[in-house]
């Protein structure tokens, strides 16, 4: 396609912005050499075009994805865009380009240089989302549960249905510190909002008790004579550890007791029957 003019696109980093890049490249017959969000934009020898986000254009391109690439292809693009790779927009652009040409068959063309990276991006995003459904840790502050995570990919939209479905009666907040976004849920409604950081008060006594119980349990359940640190790291990579209760500073269990005046205290003093 040598008749297309080579340019570099600067877009606003959003999914709609990316879709608008596709729109611009087809209406202007341009060949994007790179698609850069604001944080990666830099002066270049190639001509640069600033692509403004237009929701109407984005919607039109999004509709075309389902039509031309099939539902699976559309899902590939939407999920792939959550990936944390810096060159994701360019890789996805090439995938869409090929998809427009050959249709829904594109998703099953494993091994094709334009398809394989997108396939892998999808797998990386989904597997991190699955791991996070297990490794996320909540702490109770007042009536609400708060969890903080630092994932590689923007998995919040993928794990939101899982947690909203699992804790329908709770109020909770999941903060994604690496993408500065948070999911807020209160019974039967949830919202994704931008959020940089969160000032948390000190943990209550009950919260510290549960943390220490979990840390104690984590220690006790391991069999010393089978110790296998490599196996543990394979299944639970170290990048997840900083946000997990079992690896945080030990709470002193000796001093922790539930407050006496709490008459509804769940833990009766009965010992052996």
């Amino acid at each position: 396609m040598s008749h297309r003019r080579a340019v570099i696109y600067h877009y606003d980093g959003s999914f709609e912005g990316f879709l608008c890049c596709i729109y611009e490249s087809y209406t202007r017959r341009e060949l994007p050499l790179d698609l850069l969000p604001p944080e990666l934009a830099q002066p270049s020898l190639y001509p640069v075009r600033q692509v403004d986000t237009d929701t109407a254009h984005a919607a039109r391109v999004f509709d075309s994805l389902a039509k031309k690439l099939g539902p699976q292809g559309e899902d590939f693009v939407a999920t792939g865009f959550l990936c944390g790779r810096e060159d994701k927009a360019l890789l996805l652009y090439r995938f869409v380009e090929l998809g427009y040409e050959i249709g829904p068959r594109v998703t099953s063309m494993r091994g094709h240089p334009a398809v394989e990276p997108v396939w892998q991006m999808n797998r990386a995003v989904r597997s991190e989302a699955h791991l996070m459904t297990g490794f996320l840790r909540f702490s109770q502050y007042g009536q609400a549960l708060v969890a903080i995570m630092e994932p590689k990919h923007f998995i919040l939209p993928l794990i939101a249905p899982h947690f909203c479905g699992r804790f329908p009666e709770e109020q909770f907040l999941i903060l994604d510190r690496s993408h500065c976004a948070a999911l807020i849920y209160r019974p039967y409604e949830s919202r994704l909002i931008p959020m940089d950081n969160l000032e948390l008060p000190g943990a209550s006594q009950q919260e510290r008790l549960f943390r220490s119980l979990w840390q104690g349990y984590y220690q006790a359940i391991s069999i010393q004579s089978r110790e296998n640190p490599r196996c543990r790291m394979t299944h639970m990579p170290k990048r997840f550890w900083p946000c997990m209760t079992e690896f945080q500073e030990k709470e002193d269990a000796g001093k922790l007791q539930l407050p006496e005046e709490d008459s509804t205290s769940p833990f009766s003093k009965e010992v052996l029957p």
Binding site: R110, G111, H130, T133, G134, F135, L136, R137, F138, S139, Q140, L145, A147, H162, G165, R166, F167, P168, E169, E170, P187, Y188, L209, F210, S212, L213, W214, G216, Y217, Y218, Q219, A220, I221, S222, I223, Q224, S225, R226, E227, N228, P229, R230, C231, R232, T234, H235, M236, M244, T245, E246, A253, L256, Q257, P266, F267, S268, E270, V271, L272, P273
Partner: protein
């Protein structure tokens, strides 16, 4: 005794139970309750021994009237004892579950007073969780051998999975090591659970809201290496259990010496982890690969080769059935090729409908050819440049790490320069220089 001590004692006493899966149950959350289950299960953490932590695995109590010799909770063992009250345990489960520490509860118990009393305590806990706390997460509960049928039935209606541990794979070792238990004691609840599951499935067909009995099925566990059974006996028993009682899983637990007894391996014996691993490999072959126990082992070869995995071992002993043609071989035969698993076999089956496959296609599809290439042809040809010798095939089947660990001398015959390893002496160098050689 405070809750922290109770929890650590009762978790420590439960850790030799292997099963920690939270799979097999698919239940979405609903308003007014807490919890859901995922069909594939979710691992919430991994302990220092690399095992998954999915459920809060504890005993109701480690007080036990039995005196099974292999067990850390036996009556005659001098250890700290504790017991949860049902309310305590339910609160603890919910507290952990809300913080997303766990996927649910795994409840087992020592026998306190008598089997019925123990079972009632467990039942009370499950009732609290399900009815009062509206808990819809995963629950795995042990059926207590010797408890009343009606108690077992009520447990099963509240739990996702039930299990009865066989522990010792033969009647002889059961009499020797667990004098208070008998084979029928163990198999009776297993049979009952199997029947209840069947009945519940039939009822579900008729009435949509009929209560489900252990929707994630039942499992069991056997200790490997505490008594003298061969792999062949264990595998045959496993196959029998899958067929007769329709178990979802049989778990194997490498025996970790916890108490000293003249009938048991010494306290400093290492757990037979490799043997456990081979048994799991064989277990997978039984469940997903269409193998039978009798094909993998027989009376003459009652134990697995530590160097070879069971499938490679089978293939090496049945060279007459290979190589198979990738484009024509039936799916069942593809599954028997070392290095080709269920995922690869399915990919091949669907891809060869569209076009004939060669080795390049297989590689791009992600089929690992390191071991498979010795057993397959594509369009009638072997992989390019591959010479098949019995020695070379065997070498490709074993992992280098294992050889180095198990047979340090084995690799040496490979070395071309083994005779030249020793550094030349001063005399030899001088001889070379002066041309005396």
């Amino acid at each position: 005794m405070d809750l922290y001590d109770k929890l650590t004692i009762l978790a420590d006493a439960a850790k030799y139970d292997v099963a920690c899966t939270s799979s097999g149950s698919d239940r979405a959350g609903t308003a007014g309750s807490i919890g859901s289950t995922a069909p594939a299960g979710i691992c919430h953490s991994f302990s220092a021994d690399g095992r998954c932590i999915s459920l809060l695995k504890v005993l109701m109590t480690n007080v036990c009237v039995y005196d099974c010799k292999y067990c850390v909770n036996r009556r005659s063992n001098d250890t700290r004892r504790a017991a949860f009250t049902p309310r305590e345990l339910a609160e603890l489960t919910i507290g952990f579950y809300r913080r997303n520490y766990i996927e649910g509860l795994f409840l087992s118990s020592g026998i306190m007073k008598n089997p019925d009393y123990t079972c009632e305590q467990m039942l009370r806990t499950l009732e609290l969780l399900r009815n009062e706390y509206r808990f819809r997460g995963y629950i795995h509960v042990k059926a207590i051998p010797g408890a009343d049928d009606r108690l077992i039935e009520r447990l099963g209606l509240l739990a996702d999975r039930m299990s009865v541990n066989i522990e010792l794979p033969s009647r002889q070792s059961l009499t020797a090591l667990a004098p208070d238990k008998s084979k029928t004691d163990i198999l009776r609840p297993m049979g009952q659970i199997c029947q209840e599951i069947h009945r519940s499935r039939e009822e579900l067909v008729r009435y949509r809201h009929a209560p489900t009995f252990a929707p994630a099925g039942q499992s069991t566990q056997m200790i490997v290496g505490a008594s003298g059974e061969s792999d062949f006996q264990i595998l045959n028993l496993t196959q029998g259990l899958y067929r007769k009682y329709e178990l979802k899983r049989v778990f194997f637990s490498a025996y970790t010496p916890v108490v000293s007894d003249k009938l048991l391996p010494a306290l400093n014996t290492k757990p037979p982890l490799l043997r456990e691993h081979r048994l799991y490999q064989a277990d997978w072959l039984l469940r997903f690969y269409g193998f039978e126990a009798g094909e993998l082992l027989d009376e003459a070869h009652p134990n697995f080769d530590p160097l070879l995995d069971p499938k490679a071992n089978w293939a090496l002993h049945h060279q007459d059935q290979f190589p198979v043609e990738i484009n024509k071989a039936p799916y069942e035969m593809l599954l028997r090729v070392p290095g080709i698993g269920v995922r690869s076999a399915r990919a091949i089956r669907s891809a060869r409908r569209v076009s004939t496959l060669d080795f390049g296609d297989l590689r791009r599809m992600g089929v690992v050819l390191k071991r498979a290439q010795y057993f397959i042809t594509c369009r009638g040809r072997l992989a390019e440049g591959l010479r098949i010798t019995p020695e070379g095939t065997f070498r490709a089947m074993v992992s280098g790490r294992l050889i180095r660990e198990l047979e340090p001398d084995y690799g040496q015959q490979l070395s071309l320069f083994s005779s030249m390893d020793a550094a030349p002496t001063r005399e030899e160098v001088l001889q070379c220089l002066t041309g005396e050689l």
